[in-house]
Symmetry: C2
């Protein structure tokens, strides 16, 4: 599966994990470990001047944000494929990492053989997941789907325009109704989502896929 030589880098704050991965990779001639890092900043420095094909990125570094690092990596070096490596077994976390440009998500309980297979897939420019991650993705948690309010057609319409940045008077004009009507809908939206204002409304509505 692996072709040519893969330059691999790893970021993880646990030295043991770095050790283990290094030993593991040593057995695979097609993979060259070009760098191991325990923090984000040195990694970002490294990729500015060196080629890294695949990055295994622990996204739960203390005091840092794995997503930010991922985004920055892709900004500096778009051809680097980032594989998130994490204990976080939550659907929303996986989706967020993908949104930040990750090309795959591996749970830390991954088997060595599976890891190599995933690296190979990533090298070929393919999305890849560990099996456990695939299982999580196929099981939308009931928490995620619960508590999602039912919106009427009109409410969805108005929600959309609010998210676009239109004010109440502007929306009213657009829909040919009274601003007071639009305001009522807006208030109903805020109530249905149980949030204090539009800012929070847009946040939760976006999270729940309404926008």
């Amino acid at each position: 599966m692996l072709t040519g030589n893969v330059k691999l880098a790893i970021v993880d704050d646990h030295p043991i994990v770095l050790e283990g991965l290094q030993r593991l990779i040593a057995h695979v001639p097609e993979i060259t470990m070009v760098g191991t890092f325990t923090e984000g900043a040195p990694l970002l420095d490294y990729i500015r001047t060196n080629q890294v094909d695949i990055l295994l990125l622990d996204i739960s570094l203390p005091g840092e944000n794995g997503m930010e690092i991922c985004k920055e990596v892709k900004r500096i070096s778009p051809q680097t494929q980032v594989l998130a490596l994490s204990n976080h077994a939550e659907r929303s976390m996986i989706l967020q990492m993908l949104q930040h440009g990750a090309t795959g998500y591996l749970l830390k309980n991954i088997a060595p053989g599976e890891l190599v297979a995933c690296i190979a897939e990533a090298q070929q420019g393919l999305l890849t997941f560990s099996k456990a991650a695939k299982e999580i993705m196929a099981r939308p948690s009931s928490v995620e789907l619960k508590g999602i309010p039912q919106l009427t057609k009109r409410e969805k319409e108005i929600l959309h325009w609010i998210a676009e940045g239109r004010t109440t008077p502007q929306i009213a004009e657009q829909l040919n109704v009274s601003p007071l009507t639009v305001e009522t809908h807006r208030r109903n939206l805020i109530q249905k989502f149980a949030v204090p204002n539009v800012a929070a409304l847009i946040k939760v509505a976006a999270q729940q896929g309404f926008i």
Copy 2:
């Protein structure tokens, strides 16, 4: 790969596609086609009273929103695995469908054999993609990653609290600074994202992964 009997339903507005899929599935004894639909509403009625294991859902139905249908299906019948079937070859579209509870994404140029393999994977409760979709997901478009403003630490902090629904005075108190300072940061955020107000700010910031 396929075990037992899979109850499959399809939604697609092109009769030809329905025909073709039906023919294709007829060759696979483990899959039973329990329903074909050209609109969302009849499908939703059907799943309210009948078991469907896997749903192939065309997400570009005229006058309907595939995401809404997907979300509704998962609400009514969480055990139904929804495979999005589409021509839309965009990363953001795929992510949105996953966010709405889909368990996989297949591009319409999928090979018959691959389709059956994907159905089998979905049946096992695993996330699944057609190969073309995997390729798209591994190539975050530069457009997506470009045009993303650089935010300072303070701005990120304030953005976060705005999204939580806090008002300017509340944030000021929390951070022990003047409300006027918070307002300045807020205005800088609105300017950096080139949006008219906080509602739009939260929308684009959420889309770009800041929230």
